[in-house]
């Protein structure tokens, strides 16, 4: 509660939180395309490749203004993406190999340039390293304005080219045949991805930025089977992580904001992986167990039915030993089989006669006959 109060009272905190949530919205939304196009790692390559761009921009222009540094980052990031995509297209080198190679080369070059800048006397370089791990606390109002503009520039094309981007991501060959230039669309989408990564570098840094692109999208994918919902959810997750990360780091001394945001978004992703309905791991496990139990109890019922058919007296009762002989592939001990039969009795599918005799009930027969896969099996035709 106090944290929220801080948000309203502390101007700097408000600026940082606003910037971080803008970043979360942009990278969350555009990240969905990176994920569904199976290009999740492109974010990593772009952000690492941006480093030499930042250094060169400083060397050439000599300004420490965020705008110029980010312009350099954008150009370098874009060139790296272009090179990766073309290596993949024109040679037999696979996408992931090209990506790993370019990422390392550009990042290495970036470190060399940064080191060189640090050695220049009077270069007042202090501040360039903030792009390595990000330094959200240095966000100024005009930085946040820039982020807002970029957010608009990214989200508007996504809205206008919604169906085109969806088509491109799902079936690019088909998109080509019905007359959409997939080259142009690729170019636009890739540029949007690069822009949204670059704008986050100041906050989260080149090393961690790709998680802002991927984690919200992966988390959102768990909760929905619709692209539109996925994009919206992903933005919400991104924004939530931005705000929460900022607040948490502000409440603890010397806690960096960028990494905190990444921790929060990763947590959201993990929770989604585990608990989301349908796709969540735990949900799957629960459902599988439930199905297994149900199938097992149906098998027990069908054994009774089968025995009845065999003896031509369907309501005949059978004792546990007979059932054990017939149980086939079921892994029941006598005790568990008795338990299962008791359960079936409670649901009225089985009648119990005396202490140790069971017979299928009318309701049980109806259930078995309603299962077309059991009834269709030849063993049940007498």
């Amino acid at each position: 509660m106090e944290l929220l109060f801080n948000l309203f009272s502390d101007y700097t905190l408000r600026i940082v939180a606003f910037g971080s949530s803008l970043l979360g919205i942009t990278s969350g939304a555009i990240g969905c395309y990176a994920v569904i196009r199976k290009q999740s790692l492109i974010g990593d390559a772009v952000s690492h490749a941006a480093l030499p761009g930042i250094g060169l921009s400083f060397l050439l222009i000599g300004s420490k203004d965020t705008e110029w540094l980010l312009l350099g980052a954008f150009i370098a990031g874009w060139i790296a993406t272009f090179v990766i995509l073309n290596i993949n297209r024109l040679s037999r080198i696979k996408y992931d190999n090209a990506l790993a190679m370019i990422l390392a080369v550009f990042f290495g070059l970036g470190l060399v340039i940064l080191t060189y800048i640090q050695k220049i006397p009077n270069s007042n370089q202090a501040g360039l390293e903030k792009f390595l791990f990000g330094q959200a606390s240095t966000l100024l109002q005009r930085d946040v304005m820039l982020m807002g503009i970029v957010a608009l520039l990214t989200l508007l094309p996504m809205i206008f080219l919604w169906k085109e981007f969806k088509l491109l991501s799902f079936d690019r060959v088909f998109a080509d045949t019905i007359g959409f230039s997939t080259k142009k669309l690729d170019l636009i989408l890739t540029t949007l991805i690069v822009i949204s990564i670059i704008v986050g570098l100041q906050t989260v840094g080149v090393v961690l930025m790709s998680s802002m692109l991927i984690a919200p999208a992966v988390a959102a994918r768990q909760w929905t089977d619709r692209l539109s919902v996925m994009v919206i959810l992903s933005s919400i997750f991104g924004a939530t992580a931005g705000i929460c990360g900022t607040l948490i780091s502000s409440s603890i001394n010397n806690m960096p904001t960028g990494p905190m945001i990444v921790v929060v978004i990763t947590l959201i992703a993990f929770v989604s992986l585990l608990f989301a309905p349908n796709r969540g791991l735990i949900w799957k496990k629960v459902r599988d167990n439930k199905n297994k139990k149900e199938i097992n109890s149906t098998i027990v019922l069908s054994i009774l039915y089968n025995l009845g058919v065999k003896h031509k007296k369907i309501f005949n009762a059978h004792d546990l030993n007979t059932l054990m002989l017939e149980k086939g592939g079921l892994k029941y001990s006598k005790k568990n089989l008795r338990k299962e039969l008791d359960k079936l009795k409670i649901s009225g599918l089985v009648n119990k006669h005396g202490k140790n005799l069971w017979a299928i009930s009318k309701k049980g027969i109806d259930k078995i006959r309603a299962l077309d896969y059991v009834n269709g099996g030849e063993s049940y035709h007498d």
Partner: protein, 249 residues
């Protein structure tokens, strides 16, 4: 000349050094239901893709109704192999089929009620209406194929290219697809299908193209579906390639 839908001139395609298609000349008349048959690696899919500019040919051109592909793009539909997309994509059946209307919609315009209705109509035709809200990852192979066909139907074109629509579908789906092909033919459409099962060529199609890197023969089934052509086609690809080259030289 006027009753020719597709005309292929001197089409050659190569991946690296090896030619996949060699000097193909082909004329497909209007309104036929044509199978393209040949062994694995004969270049059947490549032929379709090269005609549609999806693969760049080394030489040769393809004309549709006497004009280039670009001019007539909106009159042609292509049904890719269903393995060509990611079926875990976050979308449902109706949405995928609606994509068939995107070409006529053009850039920026969103599909509206009219387009959705067209998609629903097509889903009904392939007996998939009850699946329209189903997430596409929950479809069987045959259902995926029918979704692709429905998407092509929505395009409402004059010429259909289908790449192995019968691959991995059960007998029931196969019958449904055949019925659909016949309906298209009866509506005067031209349909070209890459096909694998020689047993059913006679039954399903009225024209056939024998392909094995080179064009062995093509024409009405009753004329060209001969033992000789079959033998020629299903001999090893390299054999027939060099043998025919020598003849040319």
């Amino acid at each position: 000349m006027d009753n020719i839908a597709v005309k292929v001139n001197d089409l050659t395609v190569a991946y690296h050094k090896k030619p996949v298609l060699w000097d193909i000349d082909l004329k497909i008349p209007l309104g036929v239901l044509m199978a393209v048959v040949g062994p694995n690696g004969a270049g059947k899919s490549t032929l379709l893709k090269a005609m549609l500019n999806l693969v760049k040919p080394l030489t040769g051109r393809t004309f549709f109704w006497g004009e280039s592909y670009q001019v007539n793009r909106k009159r042609i539909a292509y049904v890719p192999q269903r393995g060509s997309v990611d079926w875990d994509f976050p979308t449902n059946v109706l949405d995928v089929v609606t994509m068939g209307t995107y070409g006529k919609l053009g850039w920026f315009k969103r599909p509206r009620k009219e387009e959705k209705e067209k998609a629903i109509e097509a889903l009904d035709k392939v007996a998939m209406l009850s699946y329209s809200n189903r997430q596409i990852s929950q479809l069987s192979g045959g259902q995926q194929q029918r979704v692709f066909l429905a998407r092509a139907l929505v395009q409402d074109v004059d010429l259909y290219f289908m790449d192995e629509p019968f691959q991995g579908v059960d007998a029931k789906t196969e019958k449904a697809i055949v019925k659909l092909l016949e309906e298209l033919k009866n509506m005067g459409k031209t349909v070209v299908v890459v096909h694998h099962d020689l047993q059913t060529v006679m039954e399903y199609f009225d024209w056939v193209t024998f392909l094995n890197t080179i064009l062995i023969d093509y024409g009405p089934i009753y004329k060209v579906f001969t033992e000789e052509n079959l033998k020629k086609t299903y001999r090893s690809a390299i054999d027939s390639f060099y043998k025919n080259n020598r003849k040319v030289i």
